[in-house]
């Protein structure tokens, strides 16, 4: 049964030298190598136009890579196979549900084109609907469903054919924030319980961090960094990755005798690379304290009370950073505060 499977049912996917140039000469993707392990959830993250959707479509078989590029599933070359022969499940941002079919007919469609008898395919579809907890919707028409229900149906339809990999193209982008977070948790649990190879395209870093076993950050048709969510978050490869994933503070300064001198004061930091003249850190790597307790001093310029915490904007000269504080800490605009940085979380950039 689909729900009780714990061993991996997914394919290992490998892209080698896959580039994509469109007919009008636009280079959507630089030659790219990528391997996805069986059962892994890989997130392709980046701003629009970074090549993440093109990469997904090459894996799906909806686009062919430029000559020389190859796509293999479990070591078998599938570069020339069209999508209908690759046995992948696909979920689209616009859902792409068939308006002329009911929910259960949509979910059973993949089994129908495989020539499976009606009674059997309806039973299989009902099982998947049960798993997605949308069984009561089976007889509904697509135009009677909400956005969240549609996306569940789309996911059920893709999973019903037991694909070798499931490919999700911005599946939650069309939904509102609360529903997005709810469905994200659900999709995460589902992908993990099925242990299916999943490739998930998004421009939302929160989604990427929450869902991915690994994240591929892409920029202008090339890979900027591949790593686990923690690696990408805490050790961003460059300023682009640091800026794209999470909130990042940038502290400009210069090095002298093992010290890093900034507009707010000097701290001890033994950086090997003196070419890099800035340190990056996350808001949660810094702690506000009394001014005499730390070498760095800032002036509070904005305080946002968010409930469980406060978001505080600090300035010193031209330097402007964002840090977080507990909800009870008495902080007021104009206060001078000290700042303690966790040395292990400082990234020279």
């Amino acid at each position: 049964m689909m729900t009780s499977s714990s061993t991996s049912r997914g394919a290992a996917i490998r892209l080698a030298r896959c580039a994509k140039t469109f007919a009008d000469g636009t280079r959507a993707l630089e030659p790219l190598d990528l391997s996805i392990e069986a059962g892994e959830t890989l997130v392709l993250l980046g701003p629009s136009g970074c090549g993440k959707t093109t990469t997904l479509r090459i894996i799906a078989g909806l686009e062919a890579p430029d000559a020389g590029g190859t796509v293999t599933f479990d070591g078998v070359d599938v570069t020339r196979l069209p999508i209908e022969k690759r046995h992948v499940g696909m979920v689209f941002q616009s859902y792409a549900l068939f308006p002329n079919m009911s929910v259960v007919e949509n979910v059973a469609y993949g089994l129908r084109v495989r020539g499976i008898a009606k009674a059997e395919r309806l039973r299989s579809a009902a099982e998947v609907l049960e798993m997605m907890r949308i069984a009561p919707l089976a007889a509904r028409r697509i135009d009677q469903l909400s956005g969240g229900q549609r996306q569940r149906v789309a996911l059920a339809r893709a999973l019903a054919v037991r694909p070798r990999a499931i490919l999700l193209d911005e599946p939650l982008t069309a939904l509102d924030a609360a529903l997005r977070e709810h469905l994200r948790t659900e999709i995460d649990a589902l992908l993990r319980s099925l242990a299916i190879t999943a490739i998930y395209v998004t421009h939302d870093q929160a989604e990427a961090l929450a869902l991915g076993d690994r994240i591929v950050v892409m920029r202008q048709g090339a890979i900027a960094q591949i790593g686990t969510p923690r690696e990408v978050y805490f050790q961003p490869a460059d300023a682009f990755v640091a800026g794209f994933v999470g909130t990042t503070n940038r502290l400009d300064g210069s090095r002298r005798d093992g010290r890093f001198e900034t507009a707010a004061g000097a701290i001890a930091h033994a950086g090997a690379d003196s070419a890099k003249t800035a340190l990056a850190f996350r808001p949660e790597s810094a702690r506000i304290c009394r001014p005499e307790e730390a070498p760095l001093r800032f002036t509070v310029t904005q305080v946002h009370f968010l409930g469980p915490r406060q978001r505080v904007v600090l300035t010193a000269g031209d330097t402007r950073i964002i840090v977080e504080a507990g909800p009870q800490e008495p902080l007021f605009v104009g206060d001078v505060v000290g700042l303690i940085l966790d040395p292990s979380c400082l990234v020279p950039i």
Partner: protein, 268 residues
Amino acid sequence: MGTNPLVFAFQLLVTLIAAAFLVVPAVTSILAGVTVNYFQGVRSGLTLDWVAQVWGLYAPTIFRSIALALGTLAVTLLIGVPAAWALVRKPGRLTRLVEEIVTLPVAIPGLALALALILAYGGIRAFRASDAFILVGHVLYTLPFMLRAVMAVLAAVDVRTLEEGAASLGASPWQRFIQVVVPAARPGILAGSLMVVTLSIGEFNLTWMLHTPLTPTLPVGLADSYASMRLEIASAYTLVFFLMIVPLLLAIQFAGRDRRATDRKARP
């Protein structure tokens, strides 16, 4: 809700004008077809003799027209729906050019189009003398209407993504076309079909040139009866025309009825 008397007066005026130019002439014409003597008016009595005479004289013409309309519909469906699919799938300069060329016969006067057809293929006697010659003209003239109606619907439902969804589930191009594209295009196919059938049955311009004395159609016969017979017969002809075309249009509407609309009504 209070109605502005000025708005009411305007609505009444529009309704009366519509009635005066749409309903009154139709009723007058139908009435003339069942009047014993039109010049004496309805006082002379009502009769079905004229209708019977029209039927006796023109029944084969009427059946030819219906067959031609259905034939034109079949050809435009077979060509138009796949062509619309292809044009929507790959939008570009070439497809726009194809669309323009296909639309051209609507802009060119029917007489010129017919003349061109006769010049090019009139020499093939068997073809020139057959109903197929008229069929070709009607297809040329009505195809853009089918094409545009289907293209508009396919573009609105984002058929490319629907098709990609079907393909990802393993559907072959043929299965995609029959099971996903055609049902998605259904409202466009219905609208296009209504256009094609009504245009083909009423078409006079082209047909006047393309027909032979042995292959007249309804409008050509109508012109003939107006020109050469009593006004009552011509009017009875109009009545027969109505009786033929109204059930046909209703049948197409019924066949293409949107299932979703009826289901929505049944929804709790």
